[in-house]
């Protein structure tokens, strides 16, 4: 994959030589890709391995309310596992309901909850039940 410097040192391995940066970017595909990325996102953090990135990536056991999101950067584990953060359980259920395109679940026929009429507590909200459909692998 790497090009060799034929004129000067045909036998030497490219990666181990001391060359100037510009030559390297042309030779090492990784460096060329890095240049591409920085051209697209100039404000990308200098230290990709720093804790800011891991903070955004880690969603388990870490509250993100205190850490500002840098939208142009990604964590060491990427954005993929970042799920929506919720202010509280009410917020969580709102988001779930929207996704499922359903009405907000009510607690029962005799409690007609209206927004602002009653402050919901975790106990009011039904547990999200997973699908009870059998896996298609077993079908």
């Amino acid at each position: 994959m790497s090009q060799k410097q034929d004129e000067e040192n045909p036998a030497e391995e490219t990666g181990e030589e001391k060359q100037d940066t510009q030559e390297k970017e042309g030779i090492l595909p990784e460096r060329a890709e890095e240049a591409k990325l920085k051209a697209k996102y100039p404000s990308l953090g200098q230290k990709p391995g720093g804790s800011d990135f891991l903070m955004k990536r880690l969603q388990k056991g870490v509250s993100l309310i205190s850490y500002p999101l840098l939208l142009e950067s990604k964590g060491i584990l990427g954005m993929k596992s970042i799920e929506q953060k919720y202010f509280d359980s009410g917020d969580y259920n709102m988001a779930k309901a929207k996704m499922k395109n359903k009405q907000l679940p009510s607690t029962g026929p005799d409690k007609n909850l209206v927004t602002g009429d009653h402050i919901p507590t975790p106990q009011d909200l039904p547990q999200r039940k997973s699908s009870l459909v059998t896996s298609k692998l077993a079908g």
Partner: protein, 384 residues
Amino acid sequence: MFPKFSLRSMFHGAGGGNDIQWCFSQVKGAVDDDVAEADIISTVEFNHSGELLATGDKGGRVVIFQQEQENKIQSHSRGEYNVYSTFQSHEPEFDYLKSLEIEEKINKIRWLPQKNAAQFLLSTNDKTIKLWKISERDKRPEGYNLKEEDIVDIKPANMEELTEVITAAEFHPNSCNTFVYSSSKGTIRLCDMRASALCDRHSKLFEEPEDPSNRSFFSEIISSISDVKFSHSGRYMMTRDYLSVKIWDLNMENRPVETYQVHEYLRSKLCSLYENDCIFDKFECCWNGSDSVVMTGSYNNFFRMFDRNTKRDITLEASRENNKPRTVLKPRKVCASGKRKKDEISVDSLDFNKKILHTAWHPKENIIAVATTNNLYIFQDKVN
């Protein structure tokens, strides 16, 4: 860089120098392309005899398949795997204290060695490990939650200083007090639980020195280890990072003894792979029963096998196009650059949504289970 490839260059498989030809055996799961998130397979594991094969999915469900007894009359194929039991292992939870949703996705399944008629397996999501007992008689599973116990905690005092996370862990197959865990920085630590209850000090640290002149923005991300597996012998361990598979001798900490490139052609695509998040895909890897061949997945529903003895490798595809039983799989080749030959596929044509993250190899036979997004393929070597 890539070995010259032709249809005849099959590798020598386990158990003597016969060429292995892999054949389609079965495929499980829905045909339609519209995949529900719950159906995404998240783990695949054979039990110790290979008679049972378990899968877990994002919907928290476990499906167990059992191999049929071989048909003694028709010996041209091994027994098929049919559904033995299926159950809901984990349910979604909402952690009210942290305002976080805990996924029901099954991260791992591990079988316990069988002691009596009942089968035991462990299934885990992000929070809870469950022990399931499946009685032989009625095949109905009973579950038990295990008490959580921290053995390794690398959380820094101040979470803002967090720079490294644990990515995978495994117990040594023979030495029950020893385990390894890998990190997002590409290191592996071996710990002995007899040394102390909290194994924050390792007894061995495995790390390959990096050439500083090669370092780039992507270096740390692609060095993150997504899986670590001990060999059956217990003498070696294998790690998977984004582009390669490495074999380590437990007696040598400073570098791996073998390195196999899975899809080196992706190095010139890292920018796009970072943008579409694929660079963070967590591929797993596995050993065959005799530790002579290792296997791992890639994109475009390709999977790769490396023979440690012959140093030959093969790329195969899990596709419904080859789904007639006993159809021999044709080796695949990716064209990295230059003129694309017939039957080759160019890097730009690869489907990065079709990724094989989970594979498993029968502990004794040449039968493999390969999971695409929502289908489970079973392949076996051609008998006679």
